[in-house]
């Protein structure tokens, strides 16, 4: 009951006419940028970060909620209409969604995606509201040693579970950790890795890193390999659903939500696996024969389920973000960067220190989600027209806004140079197949990990046992070992078995 009251308080903070206006602007901008091909939610949020600078924390979070959901919906619009998913989480949506669109049912596909996202987002956010306080309450009691261990677990998970090559994952992580080192050491005030440059003493603005790696790096990489062929255009009408579509959609929506949320809440869960699982599940659940054959030919269940799973996992990521200060996706990492620009350090104490802010954020997520449905269903045909923007102007626009964003932080050309450097880093990691997420996690969690490690070791007077003197920490280290070692052991057993 307490939670409900707090959430209602959050609503009363968020629901002023002015704030609703910011939410609307957020949804429109987020969808606008998200629809544009080649731009995923993380890049959308990073590009639009600077326009919230002049606002106070509450207003900017409200706008963010809109941008986040708008960006995600924009991404699924592109994948349904063009069969070119912007990111791995939309791959499953694209399979059936594009088939539906080609069969003239694009409007229904967009509608089931939008309504499914709304339902999953709403249920997911409510779950966040009920889980987070309890977890945060426990998390406050966690000592420095255990907190360090948990952060270590999440970076190891993200680095070794996702992606093809573990080696490249760790390279990305350590590039990020090195970037995180730059600046003054917090406890002794000595500059590290600044090469004598005064500008670097304050550390590198995480916004510049995110915009450089996501936006500039992506634009340069794409420029080097620009595709020169238009894709078949699919006309879109007003999205609506027939009675039959509703009947077939609601099951997948709820099941997708149930699958997606837990994955979003754990590190390395992401949206990829749950969308895939949801797709497979919906396919299995069809009656054998005619219904099952529809899969692959444009089955509405195949859009409804994965889309719901995608959004539920996006909501799930707020649990570790708000309760522990752990970002588990690239988008979450950018949101943490945004919170830091307001001097807010997400972590176990956030719930206790600034409850009003957290509850307002949760309420704004619900509002943003609702506005998304109200605004975007009628606007779908308009968004589809954005796809006619020529690529040169599109990527020129990305570079324009990325530069504007980096410059507006301090109005210093130095930041533009830094932006270009990180654009180069972003280009290189794409060239060498190094994943982006571990790098960004390294930048964000590195300083925090060092701080906790030193706290723990200070208590033990420098003795290494300080890292292991809490039961929880030991348990987490065992988990880490299992995660790293288990695949090899399993592989070994399997090869023994298959051997004659």
């Amino acid at each position: 009951m307490d939670t409900l009251n707090l959430l209602l308080d959050g609503f009363s903070n968020a629901l002023t006419p002015q704030n609703l206006l910011y939410a609307c602007i957020g949804v429109l901008l987020g969808t606008f940028v998200g629809v544009l091909p080649g731009i995923g939610p993380a890049m959308t949020v990073a590009l639009l970060l600077p326009i919230t600078y002049g606002l106070d924390a509450t207003q900017s979070f409200i706008m963010f909620a809109g941008i986040l959901y708008g960006g995600m919906y924009g991404g699924s619009t592109t994948s349904i209409l063009l069969n070119t998913p912007g990111e791995s989480s939309s791959v499953m949506t694209a399979i059936e969604g594009n088939k539906m669109a080609k069969a003239g049912r694009g409007a229904q596909a967009l509608a089931t995606a939008a309504i499914g996202s709304f339902i999953a987002g709403t249920i997911g956010t409510l779950l966040v509201a009920f889980f987070t306080p309890a977890i945060a309450e426990q998390a406050v009691k966690i000592g420095a040693a255990s907190y360090f261990a948990i952060m270590l677990l999440s970076v190891v998970l993200v680095t070794s579970v996702l992606g093809e090559s573990k080696l490249r994952g760790f390279i990305g992580l350590f590039i990020g950790l090195t970037i995180g080192l730059v600046g003054l050491d917090l406890s002794t005030g000595q500059p590290r890795l600044t090469a004598g440059m005064l500008e670097l003493a304050d550390g590198i603005d995480i916004v510049v890193v995110a915009v450089g790696v996501f936006a500039i790096g992506e634009a340069l990489w794409t420029a080097a390999h620009l595709r020169r062929r238009p894709i078949e255009v699919i006309p879109v009408g007003q999205p609506f659903m027939r009675r039959d579509d509703w009947r077939r959609s609601w099951g997948p929506w709820l099941r997708g939500t149930a699958i997606g949320f837990p994955f979003g809440a754990v590190p390395a869960g992401g949206a990829e696996t749950p969308t895939f699982l949801s797709y497979v599940l919906e396919r299995r659940l069809q009656k054998p024969g005619k219904d099952q054959e529809q899969f692959g030919e444009g089955a509405i269940e195949g859009v409804a389920g994965p889309e719901a799973a995608n959004n539920a996992s996006a909501a799930g990521m707020f649990v570790p973000l708000l309760a522990l200060g752990l970002p588990v996706t690239a988008t979450a990492a950018v949101i943490i960067a945004a919170m830091r620009t307001y001097g807010i350090q997400p972590g176990p104490t956030l719930m206790a220190d600034q409850p009003e802010l957290v509850w307002t954020l949760l309420a704004s997520l619900l509002i943003g989600n609702t506005l998304l449905l109200v605004i975007n269903l009628p606007l779908a045909p308009l968004w589809a027209r954005l796809l006619q923007i020529p690529r040169p102007q599109l990527y020129a626009g990305i570079l324009f806004f990325a530069s504007l964003g980096a410059y507006s932080v301090n109005q210093d050309p130095y930041d533009l140079a830094l932006l270009l450097v990180f654009g180069g880093v972003g280009f290189a990691i794409r060239r060498f197949g190094i994943p982006v997420l571990p790098l960004i996690l390294g930048v964000i969690l590195g300083p925090l990990m060092e701080q906790k490690m030193r706290e723990a070791l200070d208590l033990s007077n420098g003795d290494i046992s300080g890292l292991f003197n809490e039961p929880l920490a030991v348990f987490v280290y065992v988990l880490i070992v299992l995660v790293v070692v288990a695949p090899y052991v399993l592989g070994f057993i399997r090869s023994r078995r298959s051997a004659p």
């Binding site: 091909p37 063009l82 595709r227 020169r228 062929r229 238009p230 894709i231 078949e232 255009v233 796809l387 006619q388 923007i389 020529p390 690529r391 040169p392």
Partner: protein, 131 residues
């Protein structure tokens, strides 16, 4: 000898196609229909889809005229029409044109202008409203 028709799937392209076929029939010429796109946008409404391309081919077959449909992406549309005309020693190029103000022409560029200036043969232009 051939007549090259610049085609886009709208009223301007249809006008060019209509007039081009008439000319081809009266002069006993072969027809090459050209559709092209710079291909720099994700979606280009002037680029004929595969299905529509087959339909177009069937339509031409039905008229009984000796024809070929040529499509390319990633090229300047005007240059491509001129290139095809040169390559096939065209006797005539037919294109549809739209009314455009001088300012509009500066801003948007003009395929028609490129074709008229650079074509190796006479160019016949047509507005849909005069047909």
């Amino acid at each position: 000898m051939t007549v090259v028709i610049g085609y886009v799937p709208n009223q301007y392209g249809e006008a060019a196609l209509h007039l081009g076929l008439q000319e081809a029939a009266s002069r006993q010429l072969r027809v090459i229909v050209v559709n092209a796109s710079r291909g720099d946008a994700f979606v280009d409404k002037k680029f004929v889809t595969e299905q529509a391309l087959r339909d177009l081919d069937e339509r031409l077959t039905a008229t009984g005229v000796d024809h070929r449909v040529h499509q390319s992406a990633g090229v300047d549309v005007g240059d491509e029409i001129v290139r095809v005309a040169e390559q096939n020693h065209a006797e005539l190029v037919v294109i549809g044109i739209r009314p455009r103000s001088p300012v509009g022409k500066v801003l948007m560029g003009s395929v028609a202008q490129t074709v008229i200036m650079d074509a190796p043969c006479p160019v016949l232009t047509v507005r849909p409203d005069v047909l």
